[in-house]
Symmetry: C2
């Protein structure tokens, strides 16, 4: 299992992914699920992947090698995409091609070939964008009404996002809330695990893009988890007892 979340708010784009993969409960490993492609002209695409690891790895490799465009005969790679929409379409094509090759034999062994990817980035000095690409290669774009997208084990960490994230939330506040959402998920599901990978791209194209791995001994993350946990317990204590027994 996996948990990845992407935010597209007024201040910019942030993506967080865990690194745990498992086949059953006795085959657990650490794999990077947040992958950055640098484009020309300062542009970039970051992909977060969930689902069958062989399918997502093959998809990433195909995006680097290129996919032949059936109309033009040209081989297209992700780093040459002329727009973020075209990048998302190319990722969808790559997913369809890989699943077309692998799904029949996987299904014969009752293994799911389902995947989901988040694609965030910017082409040239165009606007930042965030997409969710499904197994069938179709995709949706993140909008300001719900300024986040999740893939993988999404439910445990959703309530805090629904309560606290709006399009106007400052970019680093959203990263903070995202880390709380990860902590809730890590506690309730063993198949999501540290370290986490973080990517933060402010809206201004000139601002540097932050890439960071957050390990289990990260002081900030440990402090955040501790503060959140104590505050929740204090809040629960402060709420009066239900009057229903009287």
């Amino acid at each position: 299992m996996t948990y990845c979340v992407g935010f597209l708010v007024e201040g910019g784009l942030a993506m967080i992914a865990d690194t745990r993969t498992n086949a059953g409960v006795d085959n657990v490993s650490t794999y990077r699920k947040l992958h950055r492609f640098d484009l020309g002209g300062g542009g970039f695409v970051t992909l977060a992947t969930a689902g069958n690891l062989s399918v997502t790895q093959a998809t990433l490799n195909l995006l680097r090698e290129g996919i032949e465009n059936a109309d033009t005969g040209q081989v297209e790679t992700l780093d040459e995409a002329p727009s973020l929409f075209r990048a998302a379409r190319l990722v969808g094509q790559a997913v369809r091609k890989v699943r077309g090759d692998m799904a029949p034999s996987l299904e014969a062994d009752s293994v799911s070939s389902d995947v989901a990817l988040l694609l965030g980035g910017r082409v040239g000095d165009g606007p930042l964008g965030l997409y969710l690409v499904y197994s069938a290669g179709n995709f949706i774009e993140c909008g300001p009404e719900t300024p986040y997208l999740q893939i993988g084990e999404t439910k445990y960490g959703k309530p805090v996002l629904d309560r606290a994230v709006t399009f106007r939330s400052p970019l680093w506040d959203v990263v903070k809330i995202g880390l709380v959402s990860f902590d809730s998920t890590l506690r309730s599901n063993l198949a999501v695990g540290l370290p986490l990978d973080l990517m933060v791209a402010p809206r201004t194209p000139a601002a540097p893009i932050v890439s960071r791995r957050i390990e289990a001994d990260d002081l900030y993350f440990r402090d955040l988890v501790e503060r959140w946990s104590s505050a929740l317990k204090a809040t629960l204590t402060a709420i009066p007892e239900p009057p229903y027994g009287e």
Copy 2:
């Protein structure tokens, strides 16, 4: 969809269920999912139901009418169960019988006959107990290490339980945390809805059992939701910004 949770802590037993049922998103209704059976000698069994409504309703009716015991030829009803374990076994038998009748035609229409039930209660002046009965009629018993069981849409509301509920938590504190868990679920999933039904049975057999419906305009629940939401926002604000951008 449905969300029900049961707690078995040092101070007693508490069960909470929502009342929303839906077939698709355009056929939404309110049905009671928390059902109490009064046994002789002050004992009681409370069942919370999730899954296919026709299967759970038929199961409840069969438990009232009685099921023939294949070994003895006797008809057994829930209110005559000699122990809570036997009550859970009888519920499992009823689920199997109803699904045996209904599942083939439901499956032919691609409708799931899956259900899950929580069974809490006490027989005579015996100990309080809490069980989770699965679709196959098998069941598990709640223990002190994880003093709660959930059915239905369980994930949104699980993190707060994992953080705050222990076997030593006071009974009414646990009800409070349960209501917060419901609020998180209600916000993130439209298929879980108010009103809620609550049952609280203190450990002492002489103490009265509380049964209460919590409507959308319930002052205590509205205050709890408001306090929780404000405290979470205040906590998020109080956590320092991530240092990763520096």
